[in-house]
């Protein structure tokens, strides 16, 4: 039966050639884009690893305020670390910047695109992207700081894979920024002659042993360094802005502490006189009370602090003596004075206690501030200005990193797009199954089983996906496709020419992925359609579709039948168009 039904597949293909050809072409197109994208990405990714090895890419770089001495360099090297100066300065003219460096010896070697390394002092190698953007050829003359150079070669270096001027730049402007590599002698001449202050002291390192980047960083920080050696004006600003600020803060707090100490001392003095003041007030009252006692002794009364007021009042009432009444008033006043004095001395004591608390609080503040400033204003200033590991350096492996994202996106987009294409195909197949429903039912009645038929219906989609995948893959791997993808890389990044690679996984992906997805998607869709009983298939029972709900009563039977037919077709067309739209959208996002 299989063989007989296969004949049908070919006839199917012939009858619906346009439809299947269009889908085939779409699959080819999709797989072509994915393959060329992934393969070219793989060229870049694998090529980068290879070239990095070959050209001894740095493990990282750091810059310092004051160039390291030979002893310091040797002490670093003693830790199994390769280190090379990549000092440079920027020469700018007409808004263009050329970064001048010497030809490298052991790290971040130049990969020549064309020509030779500078042999004479008046020769230089120009970074290839700048050369090409500015149309500079080998043998051309260029001027730097008034000196005339002949371009002996063009090329690239792994630490400027993405040739951006500042680390923080986000896009490459090769027309305005390039690098010139001159001989060592020429570089030194530049520095001495032009008295160049803007030189950057950058070192590239390669770790060969146990010594880690963090070890190295600490090692440099711990090196002896006197910041007065630094001539750089910015550096001096930096010092006054950091260390200076720290001093301001400590001094301010010290003044506060001193003030609070003084305050507390003064109050302590005041408090120490509290008893005297109180005693004086009490004494005055006692004296007057004595006098009063004498004055009223004739009445046989003994006046005390507690009873003088009531006793005297009684006497005044009896004697009507105005003197006594005045005496009482005076005693009242004195009593009040004595009370108030006591209250006052109490308050003074309280204030003194408070000032004590202020003082100890201030001392605490001082201690804590010292702790903090020690933590944040790293007590001593060191020579290290910048320390950047290669993996954090946006200039290094930039092309490879970008292509890695592209590769993964591409592989994923391929799967998603294939699912959509296959869904579209499955709509065709379902349409066919529905139109053959009664035939299928009759075959079921005769004993044919679902599994006999399902693989038959899977065959054509799988075949188309398989052929589409392979064809797309072949075109995707073609020189034309890869070259056009690679040219995008070469026209942005400053990278050496990479060899074409043929990753096995991608070959498998092209051959297997489309047909597997075709099988899965169509199986899911078709299985459901074929899982009906023979009778319901023979009667061609279909789920109440929306189309039959459309009210077409005002049309004649034939006309309404035609309209339903058109509506049904429109639904398929819509599904297909929508599927394509989504597929294209994903490709756009992916690329």
């Amino acid at each position: 039966m299989k063989k007989v039904l296969n004949k049908r597949i070919l006839r199917d293909l012939k009858n619906n050639f346009a439809r299947y050809a269009a889908l085939f072409l779409l699959i080819v197109l999709g797989m072509y884009i994915v393959t060329s994208m992934v393969a070219s990405s793989e060229n870049v990714i694998r090529g980068t690893i290879e070239k990095n090895e070959l050209n001894c890419v740095e493990d990282g770089e750091f810059s310092v305020f004051v160039p390291l001495t030979n002893e310091q360099l040797d002490s670093i090297r003693a830790n199994d670390v390769d280190i090379e100066e990549i000092f440079n300065f920027d020469y700018s003219e007409n808004g263009q910047v050329i970064r001048v460096m010497k030809v490298r010896d052991s790290i971040n070697l130049i990969e020549l695109n064309e020509g030779n390394l500078p042999h004479y002092d008046n020769e230089l190698v120009l970074e290839q992207r700048y050369a090409s953007e500015n149309n500079i050829k080998i043998g051309d003359d260029i001027f730097i700081s008034g000196k005339k150079f002949k371009v002996s070669g063009t090329g690239c270096v792994p630490d400027y894979d993405m040739p951006i001027r500042k680390i923080s730049d986000t896009s490459v402007e090769s027309s305005d920024f390039g690098i010139a590599f001159v001989t060592g002698t020429m570089y030194d001449t530049f520095i001495t002659e032009s008295n160049c202050k803007a030189q950057e002291y950058i070192y590239a390192y390669r770790l060969k042993g146990e010594f880690s980047a963090d070890n190295l960083k600490k090692f440099i920080k711990d090196m002896e360094f006197d910041y007065h050696d630094v001539e750089d004006k910015y550096f001096q600003d930096y010092i006054s802005n950091t260390l200076g600020k720290k001093d301001d803060l400590t001094n301010g707090i010290k003044e506060l502490v001193d003030g609070s100490e003084k305050l507390s001392d003064g109050l302590s003095e005041i408090t120490s006189h509290n008893d005297d003041i109180r005693k004086g007030a009490d004494d005055i009252f006692e004296i007057f009370l004595l006098q009063a006692n004498e004055a009223v002794s004739f009445m046989g009364i003994n006046l005390t602090v507690d009873n003088y007021a009531s006793e005297l009042e009684k006497c005044v009432a009896v004697t009507q003596n105005s003197e006594l009444s005045e005496l009482k008033n005076t005693l009242d006043k004195l009593k009040e004075f004595s009370d108030k004095t006591e209250e006052y001395t109490d308050r003074v004591s309280e204030v003194y206690d408070g000032s004590d608390e202020i003082e100890s609080g201030m001392k605490e503040l001082q201690e804590k501030t010292e702790e903090i400033s020690e933590k944040y204003f790293d007590g001593q200033i060191d020579n290290l200005m910048m320390f950047l590991k290669a993996e954090d350096n946006p200039r290094i492996n930039a092309a490879s990193n970008e292509r890695m994202v592209n590769r993964n996106m591409g592989l994923l987009a391929g799967v998603v797009v294939m699912i959509l294409f296959m869904y579209v195909i499955s709509v065709f197949v379902v349409h066919q199954i529905q139109s053959e429903s009664s035939v299928i039912g009759t075959l079921y009645a005769l004993g044919v089983k679902k599994k006999d038929l399902i693989f038959h219906y899977l065959r054509l989609p799988t075949l188309i996906a398989f052929l589409g995948g392979i064809t797309g893959g072949i075109i995707g791997f073609s020189k034309f496709a890869i070259d056009s993808q690679m040219s995008q890389v070469y026209s942005y990044y400053s990278v050496p020419e990479y060899e074409n690679v043929y990753p096995v996984y991608l070959l498998v992906y092209c051959i297997v992925m489309p047909s597997v997805i075709a099988m899965i998607v169509n199986y899911i869709v078709i299985n459901q359609k074929l899982s009906k009983t023979a009778l319901s298939l023979i009667r061609n029972e279909q789920k109440e579709s929306k189309i039959s709900n459309v009210n077409l009563k005002k049309f004649s039977f034939i006309r309404s039948f035609q309209i339903r037919q058109i509506l049904r077709e429109i639904r398929i067309v819509f599904t297909i168009v929508f599927g394509m739209f989504i597929a294209l959208l994903i490709f756009m996002i992916g690329i």
Partner: protein
């Protein structure tokens, strides 16, 4: 007894709108017999045939085919039962549209362990000259002959025909009937033929009348008239 149906009942629907279609049908057919089932429209003839053919489940009663009980089988057992025993012919031919006559027959060849020889079958059915034509290039009678050939290729012991001549004119109908008669003779195939045509009952061994889901009348023909000589088809 090749086919034995006893107390067969079948309802459709649920709840308030239950329709009782077969209400206890009993009859039997002997091996190699041709049997016609007649009855008014809606009397349950097709339902009966579908139950015997394992296309429809039954509610009560038993159906024995060559001694084996088939009511209550699972769907996949039904499928095996149909494959091993049955041929089906419907009023509509339901041929695979983009396969030729010969290919349409071949589709079902694999279902049997010892299928009939296709060329011989084509000759018997008078389809030899049409074997490479597609269904759309054939007349209705030719298509029905092709459908019969497809049902017969696996040499079924029981052939179920639901109005096989329903869509054909009388001359073509006669051709088909002659053919069925010939096959019955040649291969000893037991046949159940549902038909509205009153004349057909004259040519078969046994006639069963169904009314309102019950067998109203059944008899065996003492004297059969060959299909060739049937009148008023």
């Amino acid at each position: 007894m090749y086919l034995e149906v006893k107390g067969l009942k079948k309802k459709y629907g649920n709840g308030s709108n239950i329709v009782s279609v077969l209400k206890g049908i009993s009859f039997s057919v002997e091996k190699g017999q041709m049997c016609v089932i007649q009855g008014t429209s809606g009397s349950g003839k097709s339902t009966l045939l579908n139950c015997i053919g394992g296309l429809e489940t039954t509610d009560e009663g038993s159906i024995k085919v060559s001694g084996k009980e088939i009511s209550g089988l699972s769907m996949s057992d039904f499928s095996d039962y149909r494959r091993d025993n049955l041929g089906f012919i419907f009023q509509f031919y339901n041929l695979v549209p983009n396969l030729t006559v010969k290919e349409n027959i071949k589709v079902c060849e694999f279902l049997a362990q010892s299928p009939l020889d296709i060329d011989e079958l084509l000759k018997t059915l008078g389809l030899t000259e049409h074997q490479d034509k597609f269904p759309s290039q054939l007349s209705g009678g030719q298509q029905q002959r092709c459908a019969i050939a497809r049902a017969l290729v696996k040499n079924p012991r029981l052939l179920l025909c639901d109005e096989p001549t329903g869509a054909l004119d009388s001359e073509t109908s006669r051709d088909i009937l002659i053919l069925l008669e010939e096959i019955n003779k040649k291969y000893g195939t037991t046949m159940l033929i549902v038909t509205h045509n009153n004349s057909i009952k004259e040519m078969v061994h046994k006639v069963i009348f169904v009314k309102d889901g019950l067998v109203k009348n059944q008899y065996e023909n003492k004297k059969r008239i060959p299909a060739k000589e049937l009148e008023d088809l």
